[in-house]
């Protein structure tokens, strides 16, 4: 990592879905099952602010003038999600969880909470804004010997789930919309990149001590604010996997270093705003007889080729010290945002069938000197203006170095342009909901019922017989709360319950069994029936398979098992038959023949009778 004079500062924003029984502003349960039944189309328009301008990011989104299509099912969504009914009051349950987490971080709740509307008009919220509210400020997260200040803790509604996105229409599902999310904003600090993961992990576990946060893919997301020049912040949105964090931070550090180098070089070359006066030109004519298949195809489909002059940018657009950090890639991801495939630039040409003569002609038209470069954008004849303008603007931004942007992570640990950073001019009060006071009574009520720490909870697990690995596994699993309930209510060894809820289910899931079909109620019922002796311990796996893969209903399975249940008499008969069959071995080895008999018996009785009962019976019969 080249540090130069710049200091890498990283601020984490953790978004965690809360496992409350209802959504934040209506009484739907976003985690319910249901088939999509309702479809509707909407259009969002940017609103005007008193300052005579709309929010920067919102306006940018609206330039795309997209239609939104929403799909919903009536189990998880109601008129509130469809923006057809005013929000109900804020979920008290979610508020309590958020207050609990605030106190765990020594963050002080505000006296009165005011729900705000944050404009987001990409369609992910049917209203065109996200409802969000600051719950607490201040506090700190302690990670080993580091202490990271907490800036704020807010509670907000999750956005709709994107299903499909194309040039002029986006499709969203409403099931996730308005599921409560807690957002914890940590102060930007100078970190070693590997520390970031530890911080996120510690914070995740701290929240999990409440037993009231959702688990599973997409339930926790990290936004990372990364800045190396101390002024312009890059926000990388929605990092889902912790192990990607350090890659992304490293990538951003390199990308931003590259932009700084470009800026410095441009200053050296004497670039100023006057160099951007040359208008972009339609150069389709140059390519009339081109050999480039790509270009041919575009021109054939009513397309055109625009050339954008990049004064003094020669060799800078393609400059790349680490993979993916070149400016050309940034500009490409910018135009992709408008639905274009990408760009060509002079640093990489001739190539792609575009030949030297064609490049020369473009340079002539643009009056390019030795240090100048160009960018080609290809696309449909109409409507290219906005994308061309965005490229011109991006080049101008190189004068400031790093433009403040919101970026999204790629699977390879890089980042792509997503949209400009929203200004603060996008928040206004949610007037449909009156402010809620956090009373002293509420504060002490929450303070007096804080959960035990992560370490203490692991200790508790060990006390009831779980080993280290299983303790951590059950703590991190989505069945933590269920496990604690079962241990209290059911007389089965905690070890057994924990192993089934973690290892067995994970194994099944690895074998492509869709365990999302099994809910906590089913699991509880299975353990109850194991306790009652109706279900044999060994059958746990098979029952899950029957429910998840064969779509059998648990209550029917249990009825069947009760019918099939062997009486003690039947068991004795079967074992006696086996002893007779193996009488030679029994005669020869006496008590030693137990394991052979046990094996034979279980072949017949597995899943029907608890192994313990079988073994007791065999020993008893062997004695006689």
């Amino acid at each position: 990592m080249s540090d130069n004079n710049y200091e890498l500062k990283v601020g984490l924003e953790i978004h965690q879905q809360l496992a409350s029984s209802t959504k934040l502003f209506c009484r739907c349960n976003g985690f319910n099952e249901g088939d999509d039944e309702i479809y509707f189309n909407r259009i969002l328009r940017p609103t005007q602010s008193e300052l005579g301008k709309t929010d920067h990011a919102a306006l940018f989104e609206s330039r795309k003038a997209k239609k939104m299509k929403y799909i919903a099912n009536t189990n998880t969504s109601c008129l509130v999600e469809a923006d057809e009914e005013p929000p109900h009051e804020i979920s008290k349950e979610a508020l309590d969880i958020a207050l609990t987490i605030s106190y765990l971080l020594n963050s002080e709740p505000v006296d009165e909470i005011h729900v705000m509307r944050k404009l987001v008009i990409d369609g992910s919220n049917t209203t065109g804004f996200q409802r969000t509210v600051i719950i607490a400020t201040g506090g700190e997260l302690k990670v080993e010997n580091i202490s990271i200040p907490v800036l704020s803790i807010s509670l907000e509604e999750d956005a709709s789930r994107i299903i499909e996105k194309n040039q002029d229409e986006s499709t969203y599902s409403l099931d996730r919309l308005s599921v409560p999310l807690i957002e914890i904003t940590l102060a930007p600090m100078k970190f070693k990149k590997e520390e970031t993961e530890k911080i996120a992990l510690t914070l995740g576990r701290l929240m999990r001590t409440t037993g009231k946060v959702a688990r599973g893919i997409g339930t926790i997301r990290q936004d990372v604010n990364i800045s190396i020049d101390g002024r312009n912040i890059i926000e990388v949105k929605g990092v889902q996997q912790l192990d990607m964090l350090s890659n992304i931070i490293e990538f951003e550090n390199n990308r931003q270093q590259n932009l700084i180098e470009i800026k410095n070089e441009l200053f050296k070359r004497g670039l100023n705003l006057d160099n951007f006066k040359k208008k972009s030109v339609d150069v389709s004519n140059i390519f009339k007889n081109t050999e480039s298949k790509l270009i041919k195809k575009i021109l054939k489909n009513n397309g055109k080729i625009m050339a954008i002059k990049a004064s003094k940018f020669n060799r800078l657009i393609g400059q790349e010290k680490q993979e993916g950090t070149r400016l050309g890639r940034d500009i490409s991801s910018l135009v992709k945002f408008f639905g274009y495939g990408g760009i060509f630039h002079s640093d990489e040409l001739p190539n792609y069938g575009i030949i030297k003569d064609e490049c020369n002609e473009i340079n002539t038209i643009l009056e390019n000197q030795q240090n100048d470069a160009f960018i080609l954008l290809t696309g449909n004849k109409d409507n290219m203006d906005i994308a061309v303008k965005s490229i011109e603007n991006r080049l101008i931004q190189c004068l400031i170095g790093i433009p403040a942007e919101t970026r999204m992570p790629t699977e390879e640990g890089m980042t792509n342009f997503m949209r400009p950073r929203p200004g603060s001019a996008r928040m206004y009060p949610e007037t449909d909901i009156i402010p809620v006071r956090i009373t002293d009574k509420k504060r002490s009520e929450i303070k007096n019922s804080l959960p035990e720490s992560y370490e203490k909870q692991l200790d508790n697990y060990k006390q009831i017989g779980l080993n280290d690995k299983l303790s951590i596994q059950i703590f991190d699993s989505k069945y933590k709360t269920l496990f604690e309930k079962l241990v209290k209510e059911i007389e089965l060894p905690p070890n057994f319950i924990a192993a089934q809820l973690t290892e067995t289910l994970i194994n099944l899931s690895r074998n492509n069994i869709d365990i999302s079909k099994i809910n906590d109620k089913d699991l509880e019922m299975i353990f109850v029936e194991i306790q009652n002796g109706v279900i044999a311990k060994e059958s746990f796996e098979k029952i899950i398979q029957d429910i998840c893969n064969n779509e059998l209903r648990l209550d029917e399975i249990i009825i069947q098992m009760k019918e099939d249940k062997l009486s003690e008499h039947d068991i004795e008969r079967i074992i006696k038959e086996i002893i007779i069959l193996k009488k030679d071995i029994v005669a020869e080895r006496g008590q030693e023949s137990f394991s052979i008999l046990m094996g034979e018996a279980m072949k017949e009785l597995r899943g029907k009778v608890d192994g313990k009962i079988v073994s007791e019976k065999i020993r008893e019969l062997l004695k006689n």
């Binding site: 259009i43 005007q48 008193e50 300052l51 909470i113 209203t127 603060s424 928040m427 007037t431 402010p435």
Partner: protein
């Protein structure tokens, strides 16, 4: 030093604290409490019941309320800036486009947000409308006038008269169509009132509104307004109509007859529905398709814009106390519209009082609380008895429309003409055929 007034919403202790620190709304301040430290711009405190709190907008955009009883110190850091709104310039609108007048009555058609205070301010000039809803410039040369500024539920029959007067003025000014922005709560009453007052209007008069406030990107106002302006400019439909979303989608707007429309949902975009008839027209992607022309007798346009509100609408219900009717008689009411059950019935306990009213010359008309369907008072003896008393059956006229029509009838006609006016179809308030399929 200028002091904060109670208009800022602050009273008692917080007001004193702010004044002592010389703080005005909008100033950037720092507050230290027993547990925390906050800084932000001070906001006015609206409508909230608890007087102890001070509201600030922090620099991250969030508002919070701080309990003044916990404040240790409060200091002004910087003065606030007044928001400077630069009105957009008027776009080039083709002179050849139809001249359309947009009248505001109080509901907001478009608005701007003051992100500093969170206030939502109505935007109403033609320039502002063009800038917020640019599509309008493709269809019409608009002029705007705010004729009143009252919430829909505060509207009275004298306001209907005022609107009707203004409409007549705009017709005389040569406008080719008129669009009226209206709060949705009583919009259907106003549409009925204007339907009678301005019967035989030579131009389209379209009422429209919004079920989602105009400050939100998802507001239904823009599509409703665009569709209304299109219908107003096309001159395919003369008369009074109400234009609102056909469904919860942003693609289609229904044009309802002014006398047969009702708000049937508290919050949905498609709250307004035509009862007993199909919507008169549908506007989809800018195209108007006409379903169903009203067959109103064409007469000269002679506005009759008076209303007499000394009439009443009574909803019958089990346990209804006939003394309510007696009370109306004593208060010298001129007419009563009954909203009876089913085909047009009330409990026979009411019959004496009803007879007293009719004997006194009070008009008593019957409508049905079923809303859908026609009354028929000859089917059961309860109905026949009421007919014998002189109760006038009002076919399938909607109860609210019947009430408005009765106000209009007494406002413009002599007592002996009332019964004929109430039973004649004047503005499409009756249908002759009850359509199948509903």
């Amino acid at each position: 030093m200028r002091e904060l007034s109670e208009l800022s919403g602050y009273k008692n202790k917080p007001l004193k604290m702010l004044n002592n620190a010389g703080i005005q709304i909008g100033d950037f301040i720092k507050i230290i409490t027993k547990t925390s430290e906050y800084s932000g711009n001070i906001l006015p405190r609206y409508e909230y019941s608890n007087e102890d709190f001070i509201v600030i907008k922090m620099s991250n955009g969030y508002n919070i309320g701080i309990d003044s009883n916990k404040i240790l110190s409060i200091n002004k850091i910087n003065s606030g800036e007044e928001p400077k709104f630069i009105p957009p310039s008027k776009p080039n609108v083709k002179e050849s486009l139809p001249k359309i007048s947009i009248l505001g009555t109080g509901g907001t058609i478009a608005s701007r947000i003051d992100y500093k205070t969170g206030a939502v301010n109505p935007a109403f000039s033609a320039e502002e409308l063009y800038s917020i809803i640019p599509e309008l410039s493709e269809y019409a040369n608009i002029n705007t006038e705010l004729i009143s500024n009252i919430a829909s539920e505060q509207m009275n029959p004298e306001d209907w008269k005022n609107i009707a007067e203004q409409v007549v003025k705009k017709i005389n000014d040569g406008n080719q169509g008129i669009v009226i922005g209206h709060g949705t709560d009583t919009m259907a009453y106003t549409s009925a009132a204007l339907s009678f007052a301005l019967v035989n209007s030579p131009i389209p008069i379209i009422l429209t509104g919004a079920q989602r406030s105009t400050d939100r990107p998802s507001s239904d106002a823009s599509l409703n307004m665009i569709s209304s302006v299109i219908v107003a400019s096309e001159r395919k439909l003369n008369g009074v109509y109400l234009a609102m979303h056909s469904s919860i989608e942003d693609n289609e707007v229904s044009i309802h007859s002014g006398t047969r429309v009702r708000k049937n949902h508290t919050s949905r975009r498609d709250a307004f529905q035509s009862i007993g008839i199909e919507p008169i027209a549908i506007v989809n992607q800018g195209n108007v398709s006409i379903n169903n022309q009203l067959s109103i007798k064409k007469n000269k346009f002679e506005p009759k814009i008076n209303f007499d509100d000394n009439v009443s609408l009574l909803k019958f219900h089990p346990g209804f106390n006939p003394k309510i009717i007696e009370g109306l008689i004593e208060s010298n009411v001129k007419g009563i519209i009954l909203e009876g059950t089913g085909l047009g019935h009330v409990n026979s306990k009411c019959n004496n009082s009803i007879k007293k009213a009719i004997d006194k010359g009070i008009f008593v008309g019957m409508t049905s609380q079923c809303l859908n369907g026609r009354i028929k008072m000859t089917v059961y003896s309860a109905g026949r008895d009421l007919l014998d008393l002189g109760v006038i059956p009002l076919e399938d006229m909607l109860p609210e429309t019947a009430l408005v029509k009765l106000m209009w009838a007494y406002g413009n006609y002599k007592n002996e003409e009332i019964q004929k006016i109430m039973t004649d179809d004047i503005a499409g308030e009756f249908t002759e055929r009850s359509i199948l399929g509903r």
